[in-house]
Amino acid sequence: MSFLPDRELHHLGVAELGRAMQARQVSSVEVALHLLTQLAAQTQPLGAFLATSAELTLAQARLADATLARGEGGPLTGVPVAHKDIFATSFPASGLPTTAGSKILAGYQSPFDATVVARLGSGERAGEAGAGMVTLGKLNCDEFAMGSANENSAYGPVKNPWDLQRVPGGSSGGSAAAVAARLVPAATGTDTGGSIRQPASFCGITGIKPTYGVCSRYGMVAFASSLDQAGPMARSAEDCALLLSAMSGFDERDSTSAERPPQDFHAQMLLPREGASAGRPLAGLRIGLPREFFPAALAADVNGAVRGALAELERLGATLVDVSLPRTELSIPVYYIIAPAEASSNLSRFDGVKFGHRAAQYTDLMDMYKKTRAEGFGAEVKRRIMIGAYVLSHGYYDAYYLQAQKLRRMIADDFQQCFKDCDLIAGPVAPTVAWKLGEQGDDPLQPYLADIFTLPASLAGLPGMSVPAGTGAHGMPVGLQLIGNYFTEATLLHAAHALQLATDFHTRTPNGL
């Protein structure tokens, strides 16, 4: 029996649910059943979930309840989570396929769990405890995480719960929409060029892309290996901190994962700043505003919301300083050379030989490759494979790939210049609020240009967050982007948490919820 009569279970966040379960006020099975029922009863499905398994979810929930009954478990034990379908989930343990939003992986069953999935769930190895979260299902995303509107999924678009005519952002669009629509308290996402921050912004939730190397990439279907990073998407900074603590940490199976001791981001987030007071929790915090993040062309509604949130931060004790990231615009061509280059190689394994889709009819090996890949990949994936193959090919490598790598280094250096004058950098996540489905037509460049504010931190490998900052045009959410220096996730979360304690942007819900 639930002892939480004031609000329905789906409105509770991760921390609240965890506390209620620890206090035995609600069981994991109860919450799971509630969410599964709600999901099944949706009259206007968002397209956020690609797969669920009630049997699996309830089995995990029962296990969590048994753990809790023994007085064991932690703050996440029994709390539901859903995974972006870019994370491998094992079969038959999960019963959930891993598709990466692509036809070429339709029905693919992974023999192992991604490290992030295992750490949030039942643990990486037999006898090892994970965080004990309960998997609610797999979430829609742009095919191979390529896109910023979730219109590139082979399994159909995801709709923004704030306005079903609008996109949820991408590529973690299913994650953002599901969390915003209160279908699940938290979800995993991945961010290569903004794929956690931008959908979080479009859907009015909180998401953090940690420093490159903080979360293991093992078991994440690779898009661009030097940029891909996993992160949590939830309804508050506090919830994100709880998930990030469980997801992160060195993994010997990922050579690019950072060899650092495990972090309790939640505890670090709650530590008061030196010199802070109750009314001014951010006293002494210098927030840099790159002038390139506030161009004249920035949509007025976005500018207004972001400035409003910045004013709140100032009121909480932070100081705003002007800084410059002079190569912000260059981050677009740099990113759209490096990411497709890596993708063109990462996606070569989808050749019809070993797993996934294979063309039914073919005349020889080359024909099999061509038909399999022509049928299996969507238009945007093909476009990026072609761009990537082109920039890596003989005679073009130096002019494109090598130049892009040099600029990438300079962009990272620019940030270090900024961090001499500030502790955090702030700006908008995206130049506009969520646009309408199909609005961008056949012009592939428009969404690329809209990535301008998220790409620099991705290229530099820096942690970045999207924090709700109110609404803009059409009542659509606007996100405030916070970028920290390497491994300063706790500083980011602390600032976001302070803002959320003082404001209600993050608790606002789409109409009808």
Binding site: F112, S225, S255, T256, K354, F355, L365, L392, Y397
Partner: protein, 483 residues
């Protein structure tokens, strides 16, 4: 440095070799799967080897350590930072659609391999050696209209060792390859099994008239025996010269050698060469090798064959060729040293190892580790030869008995077979006297200056002594009596 070239039909031959040595690690270069040869298809391929979505490579430090060993052995630079790159191409036995290899910055840079060719010291410069993974195998036989794929070999660690084009004949290329083979086995970094493909060569061959610029090369791939290496180069040289003499140009090409016909055949020409779209692998950080690591490897290195050979020449008085033979493998050298120490006769020990022992090992296809004759038994045998107890003929008989597993000691065998040479001067003297008395004609002929007659007399003494006489002693006695 290139030697003065022996011309073939007026052309100078230029050869460079690329050798793939499979490194003897227990697990693969980027995964934990076993590298053992001969398992049922696809039973030794894990998720990483199969390139399942989400898998990532992790460098095997054992493979790096083996590369460092080679680098130190050939006096190369061990790069403190080297880079893994992706070589992109589609093939069914290449699961990721790219091979992880080192491209612009390899782990081993420079160095040289020394060897002896026709009694002369030779040296071939190394360009580089780099780490990479092997592909799987495509099985075209036994599948009607289909190709079988075995990914057991996928991800097996390879060291590709690239020489400069310093060789000027097929014989020199073979000697270089043999020296390199000896070295990698000696260092314990490769099992050297050529049938199983653990050591295979690609030969870059071109010809030119003396003084001209380098000719266009053709690359003969995948030669897995020294004989094929020699045959392939010889055929390729004749083919290229024929073509040039016919006024045709050589086109850069990759060719395959057919051992059945002894011919090479073009596989692909430069026009359809792949664009491999190399770029640094973002899944693997640069390979960093700290000086301390290099020193740890250096401290654990065995004495190198060249140094050991020099020591055998200097301390044991062995000729260069003998010393080279004694250092053909660590096991051979170890055996030699035990025999030498057991008998105190380095040259005799070397003779027995190169002669009777090698003959028997080769005849039975055994490695020296598997010789049924332990070194101390051979040493005991040589002691009895050296002190005159055994004739060479008798020694061979004892050797045979020991080889066949005779458990008795050398002295017991000599006794049992009655092979002890006569050391009783009086008894021998009586036999000599009898022989002189009974062979008056030979004695006469000898005195008339016929050496042949003397040999006949020695033979008679040996016969009368039933082979136990020491021939040198018998000759001496005869000469003094006939003086």
């Amino acid at each position: 440095m290139p030697s003065t070239p022996a011309l073939i039909r007026g052309f100078e031959v230029v050869i460079g070799l690329e050798t793939h040595a499979q490194l003897s690690t227990v697990s693969k270069i980027f995964s934990g799967a076993s590298t053992a040869f001969g398992a049922a298809p696809n039973t030794q391929a894990c998720a990483v080897d199969l390139a399942l979505p989400g898998t990532l490579p992790v460098m095997n430090r054992g493979a790096v350590e083996r590369a460092i060993r080679l680098g130190l052995a050939v006096g190369a630079r061990v790069a403190p930072l080297s880079i893994f790159a992706r070589k992109n191409y589609f093939y069914p036995d290449l699961p990721k659609g790219y091979q992880i290899s080192q491209y612009e910055i390899p782990v081993v840079q420079g160095g040289r391999v020394d060897f002896v060719l026709d009694g002369k010291a030779r040296s071939v410069r190394m360009t580089r050696a780099h780490l990479e993974e092997d592909a799987g195998k495509s099985l075209h036989e036994g599948y009607q209209g289909q190709t079988g794929i075995d990914l057991n070999r996928a991800g097996t660690p390879l060291l590709e060792i690239v020489s400069e084009p310093d060789m000027r004949s097929s014989a020199e290329a073979v000697e270089y390859a043999k020296a390199l083979h000896t070295l990698v086995v000696w260092l314990g970094i490769c099992d050297g099994n050529m049938q199983e493909g653990s050591f295979r060569c690609d030969a870059n061959v071109s010809v030119r008239r003396p003084g001209e610029a380098l000719g266009t090369r053709r690359e003969v791939k995948n030669l897995n025996s020294f004989r094929f290496l020699q045959q392939a180069i010889d055929f390729e040289v004749q083919w290229q010269i024929d073509r040039i003499e016919d006024g045709l140009a050589i086109e850069q090409a990759t060719v395959l050698f057919n051992p059945d016909t002894g011919e090479t055949r073009a596989m692909r020409s430069k026009e359809d060469a792949h664009d491999y779209r190399y770029f640094p692998d973002p899944d693997l950080p640069p390979l960093l090798i700290a000086p301390e690591w290099v020193e740890r490897v250096r401290a654990a290195m065995p004495e190198l064959p060249a140094l050991m050979s020099a020591r055998f020449q200097r301390d044991d008085g062995l000729p260069a060729d003998d010393a080279a033979m004694m250092t053909q493998s660590q096991a051979f050298a170890r055996y030699y040293e035990l025999v030498r120490d057991g008998c105190g006769q380095p040259k005799l020990a070397a003779n027995w190892l190169m002669g009777e022992l090698s003959k028997r090992l080769n005849a039975e296809g055994l490695s020296i580790d598997a010789a049924p004759l332990p070194p101390d038994a051979l040493a005991a045998l040589i002691r009895r030869v050296a002190d005159g107890t055994l004739s060479n003929n008798g020694a061979r008989q004892v050797f045979d008995a020991l080889w066949l597993g005779g458990s008795a000691g050398v002295d017991a065998l000599i006794e049992a077979k009655g092979l002890k040479q006569m050391d009783d001067a009086d008894a021998l003297g009586r036999i000599v006297d009898e022989v002189i008395a009974a062979n008056a004609r030979s004695v006469e002929e000898f005195r008339a200056g016929k050496d042949k007659a003397f040999n006949a007399l020695v033979g008679q003494v040996m016969k009368a002594s039933k082979g136990k006489a020491n021939p040198a002693q018998a000759s001496e006695l005869l000469r003094s009596r006939l003086g």
